[in-house]
Amino acid sequence: MKFRLAAAAAFLLFVALPAVSRAAAPAPVVTRNGGVTTITQLDASAPLLHIVYVVRAGLDRQSLSQNGLAALTAQTILKTPVNGVALQNAIAAAGGSISFAVDPGDVRFEIESLPQDADKIVALVRTAFGAPVFDAATVRAARDRLTTRIAEDQQIALQVGMDMLSSTLAPSANTGLPQYGLPASLAQLGPTDVRTFFATFYRRGGSYVSAAGRIDALSAGALDQLGAMLPEGTTAAIDVKFPKLEGSSRQLVAQRDISAPWLIAQYSAPNVASKDFGPMLVLASFMQRTLADMADVPGVVSETYASRAVGAVYQYENPQPDLVLYVNGGIGNPNRSFSTALSIASILATTKLEGSIDEFKAMASGDFISATNTLEARAWLAVVYDENGAQPDYLSRTLDAISQTTAADLQRVARSYLSNPTIALVLPRENS
């Protein structure tokens, strides 16, 4: 154990590396009109067009008794028949895809198409949003799909743990609810609820249309028309306060049908507009690589199950950002790996760092650059940065933030954030 920690600390002594150069991509172009923010990033060599469409109809628009209504509404739109075929299937048959995610503050539709089919697919989306079908059969089909997705998610221990932890940071009780709801709560929701939710919250105000890739394949004005397909107006979140739970424990425990326990630690973390963002990216990359190195067989070149069973995720895109460390107990002695992970976090916060941190910074830059390779990521990151009050040229801003990080910044951020984690344990059921 000591040797491994020493090896991790030795990373601090690597030589300086040259700065990371930037892509030649123009910065994202932002326009605002009637409450709709449109962001475009043309990539003429991309094979596809990707559009992220964000509506302020997420978890914070639900009351506690409406758990799952935001997802049910979005899923019902995807099930809405267009020319006799559900929107999702119609888009697939036309050379594209549509999916959605429910976030604490919004619902996010991901629309993608081949360039030559872009106009056709955007037209299908507008048709469904313009006249969504909220009859009993369509809502039932949507509910069935969501129930299946919930069951699928419950098999993913890391997802279960992260869902539990996200609720601990939620400023309002409804934003900590599971994104798809629960089967029992969905069963209480019907066409009237969905119709009312759509009519109330599907408004232009605060929405985003963020497109990346082959924007040139769209007809002029197509994105503006997409942004204008909902009625005007803005909506407000429903604030649901619960009295704080009394107690000193910071552990959450759940049991699921899984084969091995998972241990997950959560620290609060800065958002993308914070001066601490760059240093936290560097810390997260360091934690990720160090944990993987510790879990793996020494000297092995290939990525192995063991190295993938541990990790660190900095969820800066969340309204309440966090840094999550996780260990899959299937790799042997999870307690040892987990306590080592927590020890590293503690050491970083308390021990003076010496030597160059350039190797850490290179890792952070490489990880971020790698995360921006897909059109979906590029379109979504531009929204995240704009929402947080930062300019949406996420790439240069982030690489600058990493480049300017000093050892003192790293220590300050470690000290500010890496203490008193909340722990989630996802355990196998006793009979499994």
Binding site: S21, A23, V300
Partner: protein, 429 residues
């Protein structure tokens, strides 16, 4: 005069790779010191993929050393270069990731790095492979690496079935052997001299294709300083079994696999038709068979047509506690494809297939992988990651009757391998 002409021709050949590309273009040509390159660029990205591909038999040139290709490729990546660092540590140090993929007839070393580091990685990769200096330390690392991967694969139905099905379909040649051997007894006896001899022959620059994607430029290839001109090996053949037999294997996990030999890479339309079939039936979430499975259960199915020089292989692997039930669905669906789909269903499925092609080749790593694989298998202009390639023309030319005829021709009688779980034992037949 003749000398001058030769000199001019040589100069032109050397200058060809240095030609300037427009902002977003594809190119291919010769490396400065032997070998070829293929490149696609997207200057809006900040990353680059640098791959090097070789035609190399996984069990050695006399098929007597299973695993030697993998161990040689790994040892070369782990060897200390003149800079004092290995290729692996260089790539990781610049914030990148390196992956070594070994197939029966190919080796691929793939690095995904910030674009600013691409030149250094090209230089290190070409030094590590075109003039390998493998020593005992590097070999030790490579042996450990292969041993760990071999142990992992014992719990992967997909990997076990893939290797076992190929062993049944091919009676000899590299395709008969697993790139990562399950039984390490022979592997342990491979010597340093054997590894060095294999690397020297397989990793010649003349036998290499460098595939670049992302924010890259042909000028990066100036960094290739090692290598010797010569000719590349031909695609490596394996002998196809005339009547492959089914097999049951004791394993640590359950599973069932089916395989059929298919058309060669040169028969572009037929190969594309079987890609379409795999997409239509087996793609995760949208495939006809995939959608029939209980998403909350443990059953899963993977299906793909593996485009190879000759022949290709249609491979379906099934995992979960009741693979036999899934196999029945697979066979029913494949049989049904012998009847042409109605036009509307076919048109929708073909458009979805073409979309999936594009969606699956977005990142530089995916593009370099795609370009390198198809070039090394002998048909680089057919790589589907390039929407201007002959692949896309073939995809658009598909029609219901043709696809049904290809299914009837190639997918009639699969060879079947069953994994029966006996956790405490090694695999036996």
């Amino acid at each position: 005069m003749i000398r001058r002409a030769l000199f001019a021709a040589a100069l032109a050949a050397m200058l060809a790779p240095l030609a300037t590309l427009a902002a977003d273009e594809s190119a291919s040509g010769s490396l400065p010191h032997g070998g070829t390159y293929t490149l696609t660029r997207d200057t809006t990205l900040a990353s680059a993929a640098v791959d090097v591909w070789f035609r190399a038999p996984d069990a050695g040139y006399d098929n007597s050393q299973p695993g030697i290709s993998r161990v040689a490729a790994t040892a070369a990546a782990a060897s200390t270069l003149e800079s004092g660092k290995s290729l692996v540590s260089l790539v990781r140090g610049v914030g990148g990731r390196i992956t070594i993929n070994v197939y029966p007839d190919l080796v691929d070393v793939s690095a995904s790095v910030p674009a600013s580091a691409a030149r250094r990685v090209v230089a290190a990769m070409s030094a590590a492979y075109f003039s390998p200096t493998i020593d005992d330390d590097a070999l030790k690392i490579a042996r450990t690496d292969v041993a760990v991967l071999s142990a992992q694969e014992r719990f992967s139905p997909d990997d076990l079935l893939h290797d076992a099905l190929f062993a049944q379909l091919f009676t000899s040649g590299p395709a008969h052997y697993a790139p990562i051997p399950g039984d390490l007894s022979d592997f342990k006896s491979i010597t340093l001299d054997q590894v060095k001899a294999f690397a020297k022959r397989a990793f010649r620059s003349a036998n290499a294709t460098i595939a670049l994607a992302g924010n890259v430029d042909v000028s990066l290839l100036d960094a290739v300083t090692a290598g010797t001109p010569g000719s590349a090996d031909s695609p490596i053949a394996s002998s196809v079994a005339s009547a492959p037999a089914d097999k049951t294997i004791d394993a640590a996990v359950t599973g069932e696999g089916l395989a059929w030999t298919g058309p060669p890479i040169a028969d572009e339309r037929a190969a594309t038709a079987l890609d379409f079939v795999a997409d239509y039936l087996f793609r995760d979430e949208t495939g006809l068979v995939s959608k029939q499975l209980d998403p909350t259960g443990d059953a899963y199915v993977n299906g793909q047509f593996i485009t190879l020089h000759d022949p290709g292989v249609m491979l379906v692997t099934i995992g979960g506690s009741k693979p036999n039930e899934v196999k029945a669905k697979v066979l029913a669906a494949v049989t049904a494809m012998q009847t042409p789909l109605d036009t509307a269903s076919f048109d929708a499925a073909r458009e979805a297939f073409i979309y999936h092609l594009a969606a699956d080749s977005q990142s530089p790593s995916q593009q370099a992988d795609n370009l390198g694989w198809y070039t090394a298998e002998g048909n680089g202009t057919y790589a589907p990651s390039d929407s201007a390639s002959s692949y896309w023309k073939a995809a658009r030319s598909l029609d219901p009757a043709y696809v049904a005829s290809i299914v009837k021709k190639y997918l009639a009688h699969p060879v079947v391998v069953r994994l029966v779980a006996t956790p405490s034992k090694d695999s036996t037949s």
